[in-house]
């Protein structure tokens, strides 16, 4: 069991800083600005560059994980395969085209569901990982019971390195356990939410606000019998982004879902003033055809606006908090590194716990033995 917890802690550490790791290793994933005050390119230019790089493709969605990362334009390739084009957000030039999973997604899949396949809304791996929230919380509880007057450990931390292996590992275990107590509690509780989330997905219980569908009359008919040409003066995606940004000051775009069919809206999401909430908390659904073509039920181009946590239901509130708290992404690189270090500490904690258990359960040395086992 200890090695499983250690594996999850280690992979979680890597998942917390996976963007930063690949940023260091691969220049193609970086959002390098040509100048200090260079503006972002229009999203329509990024989409056009991506589709030009993959002939016959169409945009599925676009995302930017952090400001330092290139924009990922995910395309439906020929035959339906998904292809990712990494686009510089300042110059709208394609830096790389990948038809495999990106490093961050592989690491997240490894930590989140052990790479196990998904079918009908569930993955056994997701359950296997999320359920470890329970032993984590039990470990916190038993640790506090067994470690009497644990608060004294904060005032006088102790790590004896010259009294043998048993004493050393015991002191290290208590020291790490004490200082990572809040982290274990936080990751355990958020893992429990992931367990609830897995059950909700598995049982097909809707808990997120559904995407609105445009009224049929919101989309114009044409006399030519072919799709209307996009507005040449301002392409629909840029107009949609501008409409949402005008209503949410401080919105940093992280995700744009292209309409999946004619009556579907643009889905725009990002981070906002409250960094504790994930990058889907702020945003809205926008009519790609503009308000001038909308029917009587439509109040304008922005169909649904989510201007922050106040617009979330209680369950959505938990859902949008869980990821940033679990992976430490709410405070930028500093908290991600802190979370990665704490994850490594929990890895050591699992290992030291196993060693302590072995010391306690090892057979007592016989009088003719060699003394203390270590």
């Amino acid at each position: 069991m200890w090695i499983y917890i250690a594996f999850l802690s280690l992979s979680g550490s890597l998942a917390a800083v996976s963007n930063e790791v690949i940023w260091l290793l691969d220049p193609a994933v970086r959002a390098t600005a040509p100048g200090s005050d260079a503006p972002l390119a229009p999203y329509s230019d990024m989409a056009a560059a991506a589709t030009a790089a993959v002939p016959g493709s169409a945009v599925a969605y676009l995302r930017q994980r952090t400001d330092a990362m290139a924009v990922e334009v995910i395309l439906w390739g020929q035959g339906g395969a998904l292809v990712t084009a990494l686009v510089n957000p300042y110059t709208a030039t394609v830096q790389k085209v990948s038809d495999t999973m990106l490093f961050q997604d592989v690491v997240r899949s490894l930590h989140g569901w052990l790479l196990m396949p998904w079918q009908d809304g569930y993955s056994l791996g997701y359950y296997a990982v999320a359920v470890t929230g329970l032993p984590l919380l039990v470990a916190v509880g038993t640790g506090l019971v067994v470690y009497r007057r644990f608060w004294q450990g904060f005032l006088s931390p102790r790590l004896r390195i010259d009294l043998g292996a048993r004493i050393f590992w015991g002191d290290l275990h208590r020291l790490i356990g004490l200082w990572s107590l809040w982290f274990l509690l936080l990751t355990g509780l958020t893992a429990l939410w992931f367990l609830v989330q897995a059950i909700l997905w598995h049982t097909h219980t809707p808990y997120l606000t559904p995407e609105p569908e445009l009224p049929r009359q919101a989309v114009p008919y044409t006399t030519t019998g072919t799709r209307p040409a996009p507005d040449a003066t301002q392409p629909a995606v840029d107009r949609a982004v501008a409409a949402v940004q005008a209503q949410i000051p401080g919105l940093s775009i992280r995700w744009i879902g292209w309409p999946e069919h004619t009556l579907a809206p643009f889905a725009i999401a990002g981070t906002g003033p409250n960094p504790l909430f994930n990058d889907r908390t702020y945003g809205g659904y926008v009519n790609p055809w503009g308000s001038e073509n909308s029917g009587p039920d439509d109040s304008g181009p922005v169909l649904v606006l989510r201007s922050g946590p106040a617009d979330l239901t209680a369950v959505e509130w938990v859902d949008h908090l869980a990821d940033p708290l679990h992976y430490g992404s709410f405070g930028g690189v500093a908290t991600k590194i802190l979370w990665a270090l704490l994850g490594l500490a929990v890895t050591v904690l699992s290992f030291s716990g196993m060693l302590m258990w072995r010391h306690r359960t090892a057979p007592k040395p016989t009088p003719s033995g060699t003394g203390e086992t270590s």
Binding site: Q78, G80, R216
Partner: protein, 170 residues
Amino acid sequence: MAPHSAPFRTAMAGVARLPKWLWRNRCHWTAIVLIVPALLLPYHLVPLGAVPDQPGVSGAVGPWTFTLWAVDTEPPHPGEHDIPEKEYAVRFGPGDAATIRQARLLVKATPPTDADAGAGAPLHGSPHAPEAHVPVPPDGRTLWLWVEGWSGVTATAAIPLTEGARPVLP
């Protein structure tokens, strides 16, 4: 089943033994959950392949041609609504996509009318082979493909379904 019948007691005893059995074999479980990712890793490092067309039915709906298939061979599964759902994919003929305003799939006993324009499930996603998650009532035997062109013209095609809601040639 009576609460104190022998099968009930046997079943409950089995359930009671389960945690102990899981705990006794914890080393094996740990080994499995660690070996499985190692075995699956290579599959996550190769190109994401396209979903190939499955054997399906071909036909015409108004001026358009189509091939429709069930995404998997499983029967309809529980969905977000009270009615079980099944996924279907459609590939339209060359050049058809540019003239199709929307296309929907619905399971219904009678042919859909214009009043059903918002019913069923819209085909969405990949423009090459859009899919729809279609509610399939237990007694549903006909899948309707409803297509509307950009000029407003509409057309329907009926596709019979088998017991497991798989499409068959009419």
